[in-house]
C-alpha cells in the first residue's frame, strides 16, 4: 500500500465509508497533497465505494479542491469588487513579479501556486488573500512582498 492509499484508507476509517464523507476526505487529501490527483480520486472511489466519475464531478464543483498539480503554498487573491477597488491588481502584479508566475501557474520549485478567488469575506480590510488557510488583509505591494519573503525564508530559499 503506498502513502496515498494508506492516507485515504485512514481518512475513510475516520470519516466513514459513505457518500457524506466525500468532501471531508477530499479536503484532507488536498490538505496533505496540495491537490487531488487522478490517482487519489480513484483510491477515494474505491475506498468509499462510489463511482469515480462522481468523485471527479463533485471535486470539480468546489474551487478549493484543486484537481491540477499545485504548489505547497496556494495563494488565493480575492478578485471581488471591494478588493479590486482597494488595489488588488497592484498587489497581484507585485506577486507575479516576485514569483515570476502568472495567474493559474505554479513556481518551478513547486512552492507557490497563484490563483484568484471570489469574495473571501474581508471587504472591510481589502484587498485580501489567503495563503493556504492563512488570511492576509489590507495588502499593499510592499506588504505582500514582505509576506512572500517570509514564506521563502521559511523554506530555506534565497
Amino acid at each position: 500500500m503506498d502513502s496515498i492509499q494508506s492516507l485515504i484508507k485512514n481518512l475513510a476509517d475516520q470519516h466513514g465509508r459513505k457518500r457524506e464523507s466525500l468532501l471531508p476526505i477530499m479536503q484532507a487529501v488536498v490538505e496533505q497533497e496540495n491537490y487531488l490527483s487522478e490517482y487519489s480520486m480513484v483510491e477515494i472511489a474505491r475506498e468509499v465505494d462510489i463511482p469515480a466519475a462522481d468523485v471527479y464531478g463533485t471535486a470539480t464543483f468546489y474551487s478549493f479542491i484543486e484537481t491540477k498539480p499545485a504548489g505547497k503554498y496556494i495563494i488565493r487573491i480575492c478578485k471581488t469588487i471591494a478588493c479590486v477597488m482597494k488595489g488588488k491588481n497592484q498587489v497581484l502584479f507585485a506577486i507575479q513579479d516576485m514569483l515570476k508566475i502568472k495567474l493559474g501557474e505554479t513556481t518551478p520549485d513547486k512552492r507557490f501556486s497563484l490563483l484568484e478567488s471570489n469574495c473571501l469575506g474581508w471587504c472591510h480590510k481589502a484587498p485580501a488573500m489567503l495563503i493556504n488557510n492563512e488570511v492576509y488583509t489590507e495588502l499593499t505591494p510592499e506588504k505582500v512582498r514582505e509576506i512572500l519573503s517570509d514564506y521563502m525564508r521559511k523554506n530555506g530559499q534565497y
Binding site: 471531508p24 464543483f61 469588487i81 471591494a82 471587504c123
Partner: protein
Amino acid sequence: MANSHQLKRVDFIFRNENDWEKVLSSTIKKKPNELINELISSELKGRGGAGFPTGLKWKYTSEEESDEKYIICNADEGEPGTFKDREILSKVPYKVLTAMAVCGYVTGATKGFIYLRGEYKFLEAELNKEIAEFEYYCNEINFDFKISIFMGSGAYICGEETALMESMEGRRGEPRNKPPFPTQVGYMGKPTVINNVETLVHTYTIFKYGAKKFYDLGVQYSRGTKLFSVSGDTPKPGIYELELGMSLQDFVYEFGDGDTKAVQVGGASGFLVPRKKFKDAAIGFKGKLTGISLPTGGSMMLFNSSRSMFNVLDNYLEFFREESCGQCTPCRVGCQQLLLGIKAVKRGDKPALYLDKLMRLTETMQLTAKCGLGQSVANSFSSIVENFREEMIY
C-alpha cells in the same frame, strides 16, 4: 418619513456576557411551544437574505414526525461585501451554539452542524474548542445535543440551503426543487432547520431578553436589529449592529466619505441605490416601508464618484457566471449572456438598445431560475443599468 428614523447603533450581538450556560439551562426549562410563540411574536426574520420568519421555520420542523431531525447553522457566508458571520463566530460563538441547542430542543433534534465556508477554515480549530466546552456543559446538565463542523470548499451557491445540504451529503452543491422544503425533507431526507449564523444569535437575544425587547426595536415588518457589513469607499469599514428601518440617507451620512455616488445594498445579489434615491430608501424587509425597501443580508458597499458602475456590474456578473451551479438554463446561460452583453454594448458591438433585451432577460431569470442565485441576478443588473445607463454605454 414616518417609519424611518435616525441611525441607531445597538449592542446585543457582540455584548460579551458569559452567561450562556444560564441562558441555555433556563430556556430549555420552558415548553417548546412557548419558545416558538416567543419567537413568532418577536417577528424575527431570517438574516441570511431571504427573510423567512424564523419562528415559523422552527414551528414547521417541530410539527414534523421523524426519528431524526437536524439543525444546521449556515455559515457559508459568501455574498460579496458580507463578513458578519465570521465576526460572530470568532467573537461570540457560544451564542450560536446555545441557539442551535435551543432550536434542537424546540424541534426535537439532537444533532447540529455548522456549515463553515472553506475561506474561514482558520476559524475551525477555535470553534471546535468552543464546541467541546459546550458539549461538556450539555453533558453535565444531561442535555443531549451534539454539534459538528462541516467544512465547505469554495462554492458560493452552497449558501443556498438545499445546495448546502447536497454538499453535506457529499455531492455537487446543486439546489433542489422546492417543495419539499427543508423543514419537511432536509439533510439526509430528514426535517431540518437551517438558519443563518446571525439569525441564531438573534434568537439568543430573544430567549435571553424576551421577544418584546427585540420587537420594540426596528419598524413594522422589520423588527429588531441587524448586523451590517460596511465596506467600499467609507472611512469606517467594519461591522455594525443597527436597528432596522433606517433610511439610506442617514446611513450614508454616517458612513459615507462625503462623495458617495451609490450604495450596493445586499451584496452582488442585492440592489444598487444611486444618490438621488438615498432619501427614499429604507433598509428593511420587503415592500412595507415607505419608499424603496431593501431586503438584505447586511452588506452595504459604498461607491464614490471615482468608481465606474460598469466595472462594478462587470465584476458582479463575472462572479455570478462562475458561482452559478450551472444546472438551470436561465442562470447558467443567462449570466454568461449578461456579462458578454454589457461588454459588447460597451465596445459598441451591440447597440445601446441591447441593454433593454438584457433587462428583459433578467426578468426571465428572476421568474424562472431554480434558486435564489439566478433569481436575484436581476436585482443588481436592473438597478445598475437603470440608474447608470450612460456609464454602461460610454
